[in-house]
Protein backbone atom coordinates (compact mmCIF):
# COMPACT_ATOMS: atom_id res chain seq x y z
CA UNK A 1 0.00 0.00 0.00
CA UNK A 2 1.04 3.59 -0.52
CA UNK A 3 2.11 5.90 2.26
CA UNK A 4 -0.96 8.07 1.74
CA UNK A 5 -3.40 5.17 1.82
CA UNK A 6 -1.79 3.75 4.96
CA UNK A 7 -1.96 7.18 6.61
CA UNK A 8 -5.64 7.50 5.74
CA UNK A 9 -6.24 4.00 7.15
CA UNK A 10 -4.67 4.98 10.48
CA UNK A 11 -6.38 8.39 10.59
CA UNK A 12 -9.77 6.85 9.83
CA UNK A 13 -9.22 4.32 12.59
CA UNK A 14 -8.35 7.01 15.15
CA UNK A 15 -11.23 9.26 14.10
CA UNK A 16 -13.66 6.35 14.24
CA UNK A 17 -12.48 5.56 17.77
CA UNK A 18 -12.99 9.20 18.78
CA UNK A 19 -16.41 9.32 17.16
CA UNK A 20 -17.38 6.12 18.96
CA UNK A 21 -15.96 7.04 22.37
CA UNK A 22 -17.00 10.71 22.12
CA UNK A 23 -14.12 11.73 24.39
CA UNK A 24 -13.26 14.67 22.12
CA UNK A 25 -16.87 15.80 21.92
CA UNK A 26 -17.84 15.26 25.54
CA UNK A 27 -14.61 16.18 27.29
CA UNK A 28 -12.13 18.13 25.16
CA UNK A 29 -14.58 20.60 23.60
CA UNK A 30 -16.33 21.35 26.94
CA UNK A 31 -12.89 21.65 28.56
CA UNK A 32 -11.86 24.35 26.09
CA UNK A 33 -15.15 26.14 26.40
CA UNK A 34 -14.84 26.18 30.19
CA UNK A 35 -11.39 27.75 29.87
CA UNK A 36 -12.76 30.51 27.65
CA UNK A 37 -15.63 31.12 30.07
CA UNK A 38 -13.27 31.21 33.06
CA UNK A 39 -11.09 33.81 31.36
CA UNK A 40 -14.22 35.81 30.57
CA UNK A 41 -15.20 35.77 34.23
CA UNK A 42 -11.67 36.59 35.37
CA UNK A 43 -11.26 39.59 33.06
CA UNK A 44 -14.86 40.67 32.70
CA UNK A 45 -14.30 43.90 34.60
CA UNK A 46 -11.94 45.04 31.88
CA UNK A 47 -13.82 44.28 28.63
CA UNK A 48 -11.12 45.89 26.49
CA UNK A 49 -8.38 43.79 28.09
CA UNK A 50 -10.43 40.67 27.37
CA UNK A 51 -10.76 41.67 23.72
CA UNK A 52 -7.03 42.46 23.39
CA UNK A 53 -5.92 39.22 24.98
CA UNK A 54 -8.43 37.08 23.09
CA UNK A 55 -5.86 35.63 20.62
CA UNK A 56 -3.50 34.54 23.38
CA UNK A 57 -6.31 33.11 25.48
CA UNK A 58 -7.70 31.27 22.46
CA UNK A 59 -4.38 29.62 21.64
CA UNK A 60 -3.70 28.81 25.29
CA UNK A 61 -7.00 26.94 25.34
CA UNK A 62 -6.13 25.22 22.05
CA UNK A 63 -2.74 24.11 23.38
CA UNK A 64 -4.26 22.66 26.54
CA UNK A 65 -6.91 20.87 24.50
CA UNK A 66 -4.19 19.61 22.14
CA UNK A 67 -2.40 18.02 25.09
CA UNK A 68 -5.55 16.08 25.87
CA UNK A 69 -5.99 15.11 22.22
CA UNK A 70 -2.44 13.80 21.72
CA UNK A 71 -2.55 12.06 25.08
CA UNK A 72 -5.76 10.38 24.04
CA UNK A 73 -4.29 9.49 20.62
CA UNK A 74 -1.35 7.73 22.31
CA UNK A 75 -3.55 6.29 25.02
CA UNK A 76 -5.74 4.27 22.65
CA UNK A 77 -2.62 2.41 21.57
CA UNK A 78 -1.81 1.37 25.14
CA UNK A 79 -4.95 -0.68 25.87
CA UNK A 80 -4.65 -4.33 24.81
CA UNK A 81 -1.11 -3.52 23.63
CA UNK A 82 -2.54 -2.13 20.41
CA UNK A 83 0.80 -0.37 20.01
CA UNK A 84 2.40 -3.79 19.44
CA UNK A 85 -0.31 -4.49 16.90
CA UNK A 86 0.65 -1.31 15.05
CA UNK A 87 4.31 -2.30 15.13
CA UNK A 88 3.47 -5.79 13.88
CA UNK A 89 1.12 -4.52 11.20
CA UNK A 90 3.98 -3.82 8.84
CA UNK A 91 2.73 -0.26 8.34
CA UNK A 92 5.42 2.29 7.64
CA UNK A 93 6.17 4.38 10.74
CA UNK A 94 5.83 7.52 8.61
CA UNK A 95 2.32 6.48 7.57
CA UNK A 96 1.36 5.80 11.19
CA UNK A 97 2.68 9.23 12.14
CA UNK A 98 0.85 11.03 9.33
CA UNK A 99 -2.35 9.19 10.16
CA UNK A 100 -2.25 9.83 13.88
CA UNK A 101 -1.14 13.47 13.52
CA UNK A 102 -3.77 13.97 10.83
CA UNK A 103 -6.51 12.66 13.09
CA UNK A 104 -5.39 14.92 15.94
CA UNK A 105 -5.31 17.87 13.52
CA UNK A 106 -8.88 17.18 12.38
CA UNK A 107 -10.06 17.03 15.99
CA UNK A 108 -8.27 20.29 16.77
CA UNK A 109 -9.78 22.06 13.76
CA UNK A 110 -13.26 21.10 14.95
CA UNK A 111 -12.32 22.25 18.43
CA UNK A 112 -10.98 25.56 17.14
CA UNK A 113 -14.17 26.29 15.18
CA UNK A 114 -16.30 25.75 18.29
CA UNK A 115 -13.91 27.66 20.51
CA UNK A 116 -13.53 30.45 17.95
CA UNK A 117 -17.28 30.96 17.88
CA UNK A 118 -17.34 31.08 21.68
CA UNK A 119 -14.55 33.67 21.74
CA UNK A 120 -16.27 35.89 19.17
CA UNK A 121 -19.52 35.76 21.11
CA UNK A 122 -18.14 36.13 24.64
CA UNK A 123 -15.12 38.37 24.08
CA UNK A 124 -16.73 40.73 21.59
CA UNK A 125 -13.99 40.52 18.95
CA UNK A 126 -14.44 41.29 15.26
CA UNK A 127 -12.62 39.44 12.50
CA UNK A 128 -11.01 41.67 9.88
CA UNK A 129 -8.69 39.22 8.10
CA UNK A 130 -10.42 35.89 7.83
CA UNK A 131 -7.89 34.47 5.33
CA UNK A 132 -4.89 35.21 7.55
CA UNK A 133 -6.76 33.71 10.45
CA UNK A 134 -7.67 30.49 8.63
CA UNK A 135 -4.17 30.02 7.20
CA UNK A 136 -2.56 30.70 10.58
CA UNK A 137 -4.94 28.32 12.32
CA UNK A 138 -4.30 25.53 9.82
CA UNK A 139 -0.51 25.89 9.92
CA UNK A 140 -0.47 26.15 13.72
CA UNK A 141 -2.76 23.14 14.05
CA UNK A 142 -0.56 20.99 11.83
CA UNK A 143 2.53 22.03 13.79
CA UNK A 144 0.93 21.33 17.18
CA UNK A 145 -0.50 17.98 16.05
CA UNK A 146 2.81 16.87 14.55
CA UNK A 147 4.95 17.83 17.54
CA UNK A 148 2.41 16.45 19.99
CA UNK A 149 2.19 13.13 18.17
CA UNK A 150 5.96 12.71 18.13
CA UNK A 151 6.37 13.51 21.82
CA UNK A 152 3.39 11.36 22.77
CA UNK A 153 4.99 8.29 21.18
CA UNK A 154 8.33 9.23 22.72
CA UNK A 155 6.73 9.17 26.17
CA UNK A 156 4.58 6.14 25.34
CA UNK A 157 4.97 3.18 27.62
CA UNK A 158 6.35 5.32 30.44
CA UNK A 159 4.42 5.48 33.67
CA UNK A 160 4.81 9.26 33.77
CA UNK A 161 3.45 9.69 30.24
CA UNK A 162 0.54 11.92 31.23
CA UNK A 163 2.76 14.44 32.99
CA UNK A 164 5.76 14.08 30.72
CA UNK A 165 3.96 14.92 27.48
CA UNK A 166 2.99 18.47 28.55
CA UNK A 167 6.53 19.08 29.81
CA UNK A 168 7.92 18.07 26.43
CA UNK A 169 5.29 19.55 24.14
CA UNK A 170 4.65 22.99 25.63
CA UNK A 171 8.22 24.33 25.30
CA UNK A 172 8.48 22.85 21.81
CA UNK A 173 5.36 24.63 20.55
CA UNK A 174 6.33 28.05 21.91
CA UNK A 175 6.99 29.36 18.37
CA UNK A 176 3.50 28.22 17.38
CA UNK A 177 1.95 30.00 20.33
CA UNK A 178 3.85 33.16 19.43
CA UNK A 179 3.15 33.05 15.69
CA UNK A 180 -0.50 32.06 16.00
CA UNK A 181 -1.21 34.74 18.60
CA UNK A 182 0.49 37.48 16.57
CA UNK A 183 -1.23 36.52 13.33
CA UNK A 184 -4.60 36.38 15.10
CA UNK A 185 -3.95 39.82 16.58
CA UNK A 186 -3.41 41.08 13.04
CA UNK A 187 -6.51 39.28 11.77
CA UNK A 188 -8.60 40.78 14.56
CA UNK A 189 -7.22 44.27 13.96
CA UNK A 190 -5.65 44.38 17.41
CA UNK A 191 -2.15 45.24 16.19
CA UNK A 192 -0.47 46.59 13.08
CA UNK A 193 1.89 43.63 12.59
CA UNK A 194 2.08 41.80 9.26
CA UNK A 195 -0.03 38.72 9.88
CA UNK A 196 1.26 36.93 6.80
CA UNK A 197 4.84 37.07 8.07
CA UNK A 198 3.74 35.12 11.12
CA UNK A 199 1.78 32.72 8.94
CA UNK A 200 5.00 32.03 7.05
CA UNK A 201 6.75 31.24 10.32
CA UNK A 202 3.92 28.91 11.30
CA UNK A 203 4.03 27.18 7.91
CA UNK A 204 7.80 26.69 8.14
CA UNK A 205 7.41 25.28 11.64
CA UNK A 206 4.65 22.94 10.47
CA UNK A 207 6.78 21.64 7.59
CA UNK A 208 9.74 21.03 9.88
CA UNK A 209 7.57 19.30 12.47
CA UNK A 210 5.99 17.02 9.86
CA UNK A 211 9.36 16.14 8.33
CA UNK A 212 10.80 15.40 11.77
CA UNK A 213 7.81 13.20 12.52
CA UNK A 214 8.00 11.34 9.22
CA UNK A 215 11.67 10.58 9.88
CA UNK A 216 11.60 10.01 13.62
CA UNK A 217 8.24 8.51 14.50
CA UNK A 218 8.94 5.00 13.24
CA UNK A 219 12.13 4.47 15.26
CA UNK A 220 10.50 6.02 18.32
CA UNK A 221 7.52 3.68 17.97
CA UNK A 222 9.90 0.73 17.85
CA UNK A 223 11.88 1.82 20.88
CA UNK A 224 8.99 2.96 23.07
Amino acid sequence: MSLGRDAVLVAAKDLRIEARSRVALQQIVPFGTVIVILFAFALDADRDLLRRTAPGLFWTAVLLAALLAVGRSAGVEEANRARDGLRLSGLDGAAVFLGKAGAVAVELVVFEVVLGAAVVIMYGVTVHGILVMVCAALAATVGIAAVGTVYAVLAGGLRARETLVPLLVLPAVTPVMLGATRSFEAALGLSAVDGWAWVQLLAAYAVLAVVAGVIGFGPLLEES
Binding site: A79, N80, G85, R87
Partner: protein, 219 residues
Protein backbone atom coordinates in the same frame (compact mmCIF):
# COMPACT_ATOMS: atom_id res chain seq x y z
CA UNK B 1 13.74 -23.17 2.95
CA UNK B 2 13.90 -22.23 6.62
CA UNK B 3 11.08 -20.10 7.99
CA UNK B 4 13.08 -19.49 11.13
CA UNK B 5 16.81 -19.80 11.53
CA UNK B 6 18.36 -18.78 14.85
CA UNK B 7 22.04 -19.11 15.66
CA UNK B 8 23.35 -18.55 19.19
CA UNK B 9 20.40 -16.21 19.72
CA UNK B 10 20.62 -14.31 22.99
CA UNK B 11 17.77 -12.08 24.10
CA UNK B 12 17.67 -10.29 27.45
CA UNK B 13 14.78 -8.82 29.41
CA UNK B 14 16.52 -6.15 31.45
CA UNK B 15 19.61 -8.01 32.65
CA UNK B 16 17.90 -11.38 32.66
CA UNK B 17 18.92 -13.60 29.72
CA UNK B 18 15.51 -14.87 28.64
CA UNK B 19 17.12 -16.66 25.69
CA UNK B 20 20.68 -17.80 26.39
CA UNK B 21 22.06 -18.95 23.06
CA UNK B 22 19.34 -20.67 21.05
CA UNK B 23 19.96 -22.53 17.78
CA UNK B 24 16.73 -23.31 16.00
CA UNK B 25 15.69 -24.20 12.45
CA UNK B 26 12.03 -24.33 11.49
CA UNK B 27 11.30 -25.39 7.93
CA UNK B 28 8.52 -23.89 5.83
CA UNK B 29 5.20 -25.60 6.48
CA UNK B 30 6.26 -27.05 9.83
CA UNK B 31 4.00 -26.80 12.86
CA UNK B 32 6.27 -26.66 15.90
CA UNK B 33 5.23 -26.86 19.52
CA UNK B 34 7.31 -24.86 21.99
CA UNK B 35 6.95 -26.46 25.40
CA UNK B 36 8.65 -25.87 28.71
CA UNK B 37 8.02 -24.51 32.19
CA UNK B 38 7.11 -20.92 33.01
CA UNK B 39 10.05 -18.62 32.35
CA UNK B 40 11.64 -21.02 29.89
CA UNK B 41 11.74 -18.36 27.17
CA UNK B 42 8.81 -19.44 24.98
CA UNK B 43 7.11 -16.05 24.80
CA UNK B 44 10.47 -14.32 24.41
CA UNK B 45 11.29 -16.58 21.47
CA UNK B 46 7.98 -15.75 19.78
CA UNK B 47 8.37 -12.01 20.39
CA UNK B 48 11.92 -12.15 19.11
CA UNK B 49 10.76 -13.83 15.89
CA UNK B 50 8.10 -11.10 15.54
CA UNK B 51 10.76 -8.42 15.88
CA UNK B 52 9.24 -7.07 19.08
CA UNK B 53 12.39 -7.79 21.09
CA UNK B 54 15.93 -7.04 19.98
CA UNK B 55 18.57 -9.71 19.57
CA UNK B 56 21.42 -9.15 22.06
CA UNK B 57 23.83 -11.38 20.15
CA UNK B 58 23.73 -14.13 17.56
CA UNK B 59 21.79 -14.09 14.30
CA UNK B 60 18.13 -14.43 13.43
CA UNK B 61 16.59 -14.99 10.01
CA UNK B 62 12.84 -15.12 9.56
CA UNK B 63 11.27 -16.09 6.22
CA UNK B 64 14.68 -15.85 4.62
CA UNK B 65 15.38 -12.27 5.72
CA UNK B 66 17.62 -10.86 8.40
CA UNK B 67 15.40 -9.88 11.31
CA UNK B 68 17.49 -6.88 12.35
CA UNK B 69 17.65 -5.45 8.82
CA UNK B 70 14.32 -6.33 7.20
CA UNK B 71 11.97 -6.20 10.16
CA UNK B 72 9.18 -4.35 8.39
CA UNK B 73 9.16 -6.63 5.35
CA UNK B 74 9.11 -9.67 7.63
CA UNK B 75 6.24 -8.29 9.68
CA UNK B 76 4.03 -8.01 6.62
CA UNK B 77 4.26 -11.79 6.28
CA UNK B 78 3.90 -12.89 9.88
CA UNK B 79 1.24 -12.69 12.57
CA UNK B 80 1.46 -13.03 16.33
CA UNK B 81 -1.36 -14.12 18.61
CA UNK B 82 -0.17 -13.04 22.04
CA UNK B 83 -1.59 -12.66 25.50
CA UNK B 84 -3.21 -9.38 24.44
CA UNK B 85 -5.46 -8.91 21.42
CA UNK B 86 -3.82 -5.75 19.99
CA UNK B 87 -7.41 -4.52 19.42
CA UNK B 88 -9.20 -1.25 20.06
CA UNK B 89 -12.02 -1.46 22.60
CA UNK B 90 -14.18 1.13 20.86
CA UNK B 91 -14.02 -0.55 17.45
CA UNK B 92 -16.25 -3.46 16.57
CA UNK B 93 -15.05 -6.98 15.88
CA UNK B 94 -15.41 -6.35 12.16
CA UNK B 95 -13.66 -2.97 12.25
CA UNK B 96 -10.72 -4.39 14.20
CA UNK B 97 -10.39 -7.29 11.78
CA UNK B 98 -10.66 -5.08 8.71
CA UNK B 99 -8.08 -2.64 10.05
CA UNK B 100 -5.63 -5.50 10.69
CA UNK B 101 -6.29 -6.99 7.26
CA UNK B 102 -5.90 -3.71 5.37
CA UNK B 103 -2.78 -2.77 7.33
CA UNK B 104 -1.32 -6.10 6.23
CA UNK B 105 -2.17 -5.42 2.58
CA UNK B 106 -5.30 -7.62 2.62
CA UNK B 107 -8.95 -6.80 1.99
CA UNK B 108 -12.15 -6.51 3.99
CA UNK B 109 -13.24 -9.83 2.45
CA UNK B 110 -10.16 -11.50 3.94
CA UNK B 111 -11.14 -10.10 7.34
CA UNK B 112 -14.72 -11.33 6.99
CA UNK B 113 -13.50 -14.79 5.95
CA UNK B 114 -11.19 -14.95 8.96
CA UNK B 115 -14.05 -14.03 11.29
CA UNK B 116 -16.16 -16.77 9.76
CA UNK B 117 -13.35 -19.26 10.26
CA UNK B 118 -13.32 -18.70 14.01
CA UNK B 119 -17.10 -18.40 14.26
CA UNK B 120 -17.24 -14.72 15.10
CA UNK B 121 -19.49 -13.43 12.28
CA UNK B 122 -22.52 -13.16 14.60
CA UNK B 123 -20.50 -10.76 16.76
CA UNK B 124 -19.15 -8.68 13.86
CA UNK B 125 -20.95 -5.55 15.04
CA UNK B 126 -20.05 -5.88 18.72
CA UNK B 127 -17.37 -3.62 20.21
CA UNK B 128 -14.18 -5.38 21.27
CA UNK B 129 -14.58 -3.94 24.76
CA UNK B 130 -17.79 -5.90 25.22
CA UNK B 131 -16.39 -9.29 24.26
CA UNK B 132 -15.71 -12.08 26.74
CA UNK B 133 -12.16 -13.29 27.26
CA UNK B 134 -12.71 -16.32 25.04
CA UNK B 135 -14.27 -14.25 22.28
CA UNK B 136 -11.31 -11.88 22.42
CA UNK B 137 -8.93 -14.80 21.99
CA UNK B 138 -10.87 -15.96 18.95
CA UNK B 139 -10.82 -12.44 17.52
CA UNK B 140 -7.08 -12.31 18.08
CA UNK B 141 -6.74 -15.49 16.04
CA UNK B 142 -9.01 -14.07 13.33
CA UNK B 143 -6.88 -10.91 13.10
CA UNK B 144 -3.86 -13.09 12.50
CA UNK B 145 -5.61 -15.22 9.88
CA UNK B 146 -6.96 -12.15 8.08
CA UNK B 147 -3.37 -11.31 7.18
CA UNK B 148 -2.84 -14.79 5.67
CA UNK B 149 0.64 -14.95 7.24
CA UNK B 150 3.40 -17.22 6.00
CA UNK B 151 4.50 -17.58 9.62
CA UNK B 152 1.99 -17.73 12.46
CA UNK B 153 3.26 -17.27 16.01
CA UNK B 154 0.85 -18.43 18.71
CA UNK B 155 1.44 -17.80 22.40
CA UNK B 156 -0.74 -19.96 24.66
CA UNK B 157 -3.55 -19.85 22.10
CA UNK B 158 -5.80 -22.31 23.99
CA UNK B 159 -5.95 -20.14 27.11
CA UNK B 160 -9.44 -18.83 27.77
CA UNK B 161 -11.02 -20.54 24.77
CA UNK B 162 -14.27 -22.43 25.02
CA UNK B 163 -14.83 -25.73 23.18
CA UNK B 164 -15.88 -24.00 19.97
CA UNK B 165 -12.86 -21.77 20.07
CA UNK B 166 -10.55 -24.71 20.71
CA UNK B 167 -12.04 -26.56 17.76
CA UNK B 168 -11.48 -23.53 15.53
CA UNK B 169 -7.90 -23.25 16.75
CA UNK B 170 -7.24 -26.95 16.24
CA UNK B 171 -8.64 -26.65 12.71
CA UNK B 172 -6.23 -23.77 12.00
CA UNK B 173 -3.28 -25.80 13.28
CA UNK B 174 -4.40 -28.87 11.35
CA UNK B 175 -4.79 -26.93 8.10
CA UNK B 176 -1.44 -25.13 8.35
CA UNK B 177 0.65 -27.60 6.29
CA UNK B 178 -1.94 -27.64 3.50
CA UNK B 179 -1.97 -23.84 3.52
CA UNK B 180 1.84 -23.76 3.36
CA UNK B 181 1.84 -21.91 6.64
CA UNK B 182 4.57 -22.32 9.23
CA UNK B 183 3.33 -22.26 12.80
CA UNK B 184 5.27 -21.85 16.02
CA UNK B 185 2.98 -22.46 18.97
CA UNK B 186 3.97 -22.02 22.60
CA UNK B 187 1.66 -23.92 24.89
CA UNK B 188 1.35 -25.53 28.28
CA UNK B 189 -1.45 -27.68 26.90
CA UNK B 190 1.05 -30.11 25.49
CA UNK B 191 -1.20 -33.16 25.30
CA UNK B 192 -3.85 -31.28 23.34
CA UNK B 193 -1.42 -29.59 21.01
CA UNK B 194 1.02 -32.42 20.36
CA UNK B 195 -1.22 -34.37 17.92
CA UNK B 196 -1.50 -31.24 15.75
CA UNK B 197 2.21 -30.50 15.38
CA UNK B 198 5.07 -32.01 13.44
CA UNK B 199 7.78 -31.32 16.00
CA UNK B 200 8.19 -30.41 19.63
CA UNK B 201 10.94 -28.15 20.92
CA UNK B 202 11.36 -28.04 24.68
CA UNK B 203 12.85 -24.92 26.21
CA UNK B 204 14.30 -24.83 29.71
CA UNK B 205 16.06 -21.82 31.20
CA UNK B 206 16.30 -20.00 27.88
CA UNK B 207 17.94 -22.94 26.10
CA UNK B 208 16.65 -25.75 23.94
CA UNK B 209 16.60 -28.86 26.11
CA UNK B 210 15.15 -31.21 23.51
CA UNK B 211 13.88 -31.09 19.95
CA UNK B 212 12.37 -34.08 18.24
CA UNK B 213 9.70 -34.94 15.70
CA UNK B 214 6.44 -35.82 17.36
CA UNK B 215 6.04 -38.84 15.08
CA UNK B 216 9.33 -40.20 16.37
CA UNK B 217 8.23 -39.63 19.96
CA UNK B 218 4.96 -41.48 19.39
CA UNK B 219 6.63 -44.38 17.63
Amino acid sequence: MSSIRLRSAVCTLGRFPALAGVDLDVEAGEVVLLSGPNGAGKTTLLRLCAGLLPLRSGTAEVLGSDLARDRRAIRRRIALVGHETFCYDDLTVSENARFAARAGGRTADDADAALARVGLEPLAGVAHGRLSQGQRRRLSLALALARDPALLLLDEPHAGLDDRGREALDAVLGAAPAEARTVLVASHEVERTRPLVTREVRLVGGRIAAAEPVGKRES
